[in-house]
Point group: D2
Chain length 139, copies 4
Amino acid sequence: MLELNKCKEFFEQQDHYAKHSGIEIVKFEPGYAKVQMPIKDFHLNGVKIVHGGAIFTLADYAFGIASNSRGQIAVSINASISYIKAVSSGTLLAEAKEVSLEARLSNYIINITNEQNQLIAVFHGTAYRKKDYWQWADK
Amino acid sequence: MLELNKCKEFFEQQDHYAKHSGIEIVKFEPGYAKVQMPIKDFHLNGVKIVHGGAIFTLADYAFGIASNSRGQIAVSINASISYIKAVSSGTLLAEAKEVSLEARLSNYIINITNEQNQLIAVFHGTAYRKKDYWQWADK
Amino acid sequence: MLELNKCKEFFEQQDHYAKHSGIEIVKFEPGYAKVQMPIKDFHLNGVKIVHGGAIFTLADYAFGIASNSRGQIAVSINASISYIKAVSSGTLLAEAKEVSLEARLSNYIINITNEQNQLIAVFHGTAYRKKDYWQWADK
Amino acid sequence: MLELNKCKEFFEQQDHYAKHSGIEIVKFEPGYAKVQMPIKDFHLNGVKIVHGGAIFTLADYAFGIASNSRGQIAVSINASISYIKAVSSGTLLAEAKEVSLEARLSNYIINITNEQNQLIAVFHGTAYRKKDYWQWADK
């Protein structure tokens, strides 16, 4: 049985850059993750909107959790993002959905939205699934 | 004449997320930028390697400077990244080169390398060039 | 009023490479398109599976129709594709859905499936919307 | 020893969609390929410029040859393309360069140019390297 709580604990405590970026886990299930980022001054770029790197990091974190949530270690090999709307305040949400799961590769689409549920960016990630399992995964 | 020093000053002082991520400008010219990120604990993810979001942010910063360095305001509309090698210490460098410059769109390839000049990731970004110019750009 | 039949006629008769590749329009609406490609020998690559270029062309055609279906001329500026499952016979379908529509840019996710509705590939495209309208678009 | 002539013969004779699209191999070496496509009427789209799918197919063919040229079977898992300049006549060239080669994954940047050496599009592809070798590869 896969222990989701241990997975959550692991990501919350061990992912330093997500913590440094103020990102929190909202919800996750096997193949799915939702995370959020309350916008702070340090997320902004030179024109006072949220930096593309911060939006990417938010989506990438959802992608990382969703792709690892089944217990098998998965690493990102490719990711692409399209920016739709600029945003400067409020909270951003990223929701990762698994669109494919094969032996070695899996694919995820991540929608990044604001609190009004407007689409801010779309992210697409491909993960490579290793043969090893996480310690927290009780195969 | 474009005043590069004002552009540099602007990006160094006003880009909060780049500052928050410990990224520094090494060099830039019209259509070109090189930035660096000495790896700290806060850059790491759960498996003690630099987070994909931190690598993306480094490359995105080089992309942002290169695409704005001509004085015209440019915003990122699409970016894709492929991760090649994991890295956990030392300093990462990102070098942005302009591969195209048209009236409304420009494209950049950014190589992310470690200090041994090994390729860590490849980034490709497309920018949309607005009609407006930066204040620091003395057209 | 936008005349969809004229749009369909235009794409069916004037898009030579889609015709050359044996692709047909199944259905379309503003911001949406579904096309199909019955697999022939000429679609295959050296290992007897459908060539990545043929799958891309199928998806790109759906993307092109969906992004132009509102009457405003739109051109593709970026596209990315992830291949999930190899396929060698039957009919492939591509369905384009609009995920964003702004003044200058619009984004589409295209799912490529086989007749059993299994996902074969995922395509993401960004279009640039010009100021001009199609002749068939009766603004 | 890898027999490049057999590899060339294989791709030229067995890749049906490349043949159907009028694409020819110009040159290749391990990790490198150059192919060309003299533009014909059937390559054009509704606005009389070369269809994005045809440009992609040209680049994808160079990518496929370059990624398989070492003898190990490689399949495309992700590809992205940015279109820079429209083109309607002459010959298009695509040149694939290997930017990384790891145990399981390799990456290629492909420049698509016209005869005046102007950049028409940029393509980035990631290949997954299987454990099997081509028959023509005399390991």
